[in-house]
Symmetry: C2
Subunit: 66 residues, 2 copies
DNA sequence: ATTTAATGACAGATATATATTGCATTTATC
DNA sequence: GATAAATGCAATATATATCTGTCATTAAAT
């Protein structure tokens, strides 16, 4: 399912998908697909996204009920 | 680097790499390499491991200083 | 001393995460 | 309403996560 928490965290920092992608070193599409819930990213990418947005894995990628 | 926290959580549950691998639906080698820190697992696999061991992503895969 | 279970290491094959490019659609701004 | 920016969508190409199989080593059990 969609990753709303990631989208919100990105909004907090006022970053476009493109800008976040650049900071994290991946393509815009990769970020877009993760937000749409159509991707299964690697742990390292998740960590990089977390650091770029000052969040932890649980903050952005953990869903208690799933 | 090695994932000691994963190894400890597995020990808590008294599971071999093989047993954890079966519960999670991957091969023994995959679990072994993750513990050795030689793998970059996918988010879904990380989540499955967490659930099998009653932990969260931050518990097993988040390292504050890295 | 032998057997067995658990783990580490390695090589080749397959599945899939990610890149790249291009186009369509929405939204805001002028 | 035309332009531009942000986002979704799709196809092909590449890198890499994961599988399968095999062997070596260690530790535990008999």
């Amino acid at each position: 399912m969609k990753n709303i928490k990631l989208k919100m965290a990105r909004a907090e920092h006022d970053l476009s998908q493109q800008e976040l992608a650049e900071r994290v070193g991946v393509s815009r599409q990769t970020i877009g697909l993760i937000e749409l819930g159509k991707y299964n990213p690697t742990l390292n990418l998740c960590k990089a996204i977390c650091k770029a947005l000052s969040k932890t894995l649980d903050d952005l990628f953990w869903d208690e009920d799933e």
